[in-house]
Amino acid sequence: MTVYESDLPGVGKKFEVELNDESQLVIVIHNTGKRELFLRESPDADSDKLFELSDRLARQVGTIMEGAYFQPIRTETIDTVLSDETLIEWVKLTADSPLTGKTLAESQVRQRIGVSVVAVQRGDETISNPGAEFAVEEGDTLVVIGGKDACREFQEYATAGSPDDE
């Protein structure tokens, strides 16, 4: 994908974005802030005006296009965002996990990594608020809460040694 930028003296700037099918998207940004969008079907064709946006609206639409408002991501684990920085994360333990077979007190995840285990899903049952003496096993899914970075670190730690299946 190539983007050509050219000056339009007295008007503003022109950007030509090559699309996949020979056509080009032409964006004219006026000095007044107005944006005009055109579609050029083929290199020889005239540009058809699609629409125009005011400066403010263009910025809003631009952030939506950028994915700043809604980020479509395929996550491998389900996570739920409480605020910008705090997550609830579900982590399934593998046989090789350093946590497997240890009690929560022994593995000290809260002190060392900064996440708290709020529940453990084993088969069909859910143990909520497991105590310090609760020992986790292979196949358990730990539900942890913590900061974004801490959750990521915990996930890496808990699944360490497991082959990346995706």
Binding site: L8, P9, V11, K14, H30, T32, E36, F38, S47
Partner: protein, 398 residues
């Protein structure tokens, strides 16, 4: 020159507002309409029948119109970036020189043909040479051509023309204002060049200073500073016999390399539009339609001679930019429109001596701009028809 009352100045703005509304309704450019309405409500038409209601062309209007010229040229300088010119210099220079070499001599030749002297002919050359940046740019946007390839040679040629006209105005203003002798003329040109040299040095070295001095937080202070700088420098230039338009152009250039460009464009464009509208209206006020009628022969010859030349030069400019025939023809048709700068050259001519400079050229320029701006706009709107003709012809030939 008469003193004006507030209601008359108000009437002037009413006239401008009405002209703008009519132009938008009819789909024409506003510039010719401002001139026509100015002519109708001015001393030469309404003044003949109902002098008590006519808008006089008083001192105040002259001053407002001069500010209009200053701001038009200031914005031209603002848009003018040497870097940009250097970047596309081969193509811009090629297209620009072609445009100059074809159109300017035709105007000079016409003047000589009519038995005018060389300076008068050179003035005519300028009037018919320079296309209208304002009208053409607006038409490009309205028609959506701005997103097509043909906009590049058109805007590039306009940049070249604007630079040429800045130099041209500096020279002819000195020559026209001169008392006629060769020595005094040389002195006048030298003074002009020296003053512009000082300004140019200011532009060259003053960028950072401009950056700092004009870095005002409030829009109000910012607009005031920019306006003060532009109008004052232009006024001083005029006082020592240099074209105020050229001085304003250089001040604009001084700003062109700073970060203020966008802010100036945002905040001062409405200010420019107001004063520029008054300038066109003022041209109308000072125009006597009967006098325009006396130049109709010259006008007809000029229209017939200078429409095809612009089409041809524009066509080959398009070629320089590597466009196909259809788009090259569009460039040619688009460049036909003449406008604000032809009128500015006419105001320079009016300060000269002899009936040709003081009466014929200004009257001719008004008629010429009216015809060419309407003709050019129409040619652009109906370019599809002509493109079809061209396509059929090339098929027949091929």
């Amino acid at each position: 020159m008469a003193a004006m009352e507030l209601w008359q100045v108000g009437g002037l703005f009413v006239g401008i507002a009405v002209a703008g509304a009519v132009a938008t309704r009819v789909g024409l450019s506003v510039i010719p309409l401002y001139v026509v309405v100015g002519m109708l409500v001015g001393p030469n038409v309404l003044g003949r029948y109902a002098p008590e209601f006519a808008i006089p062309s008083g001192d105040i209007v002259t001053i407002l119109a001069e500010i209009g010229i200053v701001l038009l040229l200031f914005f031209l300088g603002l848009e003018f970036s040497l870097d940009r010119l250097m970047e596309a210099r081969r193509r811009i220079t090629g297209a620009g020189l072609l445009d100059l070499a074809i159109n300017f001599p035709v105007g000079v030749g016409l003047g000589l043909l009519f038995g005018w002297n060389l300076l008068e002919s050179v003035l005519l050359g300028g009037v018919v040479y320079i296309s209208s940046s304002a009208v053409i740019t607006k038409s490009l946007i309205d028609l959506g051509w701005i997103a097509n390839r043909e906009s590049e040679p058109m805007l590039g040629t306009l940049v070249f023309e604007d630079l040429f006209i800045a130099v041209y105005l500096a020279v002819v203003a000195a020559l026209v204002g001169g008392s006629g002798g060769l020595e005094t003329a040389a002195v006048d040109v030298a003074v002009a060049v020296a003053f512009l040299g000082v300004l140019l040095a200011g532009v060259w070295f003053g960028g950072p200073l401009f950056e700092r001095v004009f870095d005002a937080d409030s829009s109000e202070l910012f607009v005031l500073r920019v306006l003060a700088m532009a109008v004052f420098v232009a006024g001083v230039a005029l006082a020592i016999g240099v074209s105020e338009a050229v001085a304003a152009f250089f001040v604009g250039m001084g700003f062109s390399s700073t970060d203020h460009v966008e802010r100036i464009e945002r905040l001062l464009t409405p200010v420019r539009d107001i004063f520029a509208a008054v300038f066109f209206f003022y041209i109308g006020l000072g125009t006597d339609p009967l006098l325009v009628a006396t130049t109709v022969g010259l006008l007809a010859v000029a229209v017939v001679a200078t429409t095809p030349t612009k089409v041809v030069s524009g066509f080959y400019s398009g070629r320089i930019y590597g466009l196909d025939d259809r788009r090259s023809l569009r460039v040619g048709l688009g460049m036909v429109t003449r406008g604000e700068f032809s009128l500015i050259i006419a105001t320079v001519a009016a300060t000269g001596s002899g009936p040709v400079m003081t009466q014929v050229i200004p009257a001719f320029a008004v008629g010429y701009v009216l015809v060419m701006s309407i003709l050019g706009t129409v040619l652009m709107q109906y370019s599809g028809v002509l493109e079809g003709v061209l396509a059929r012809r090339s098929e027949a030939a091929g």
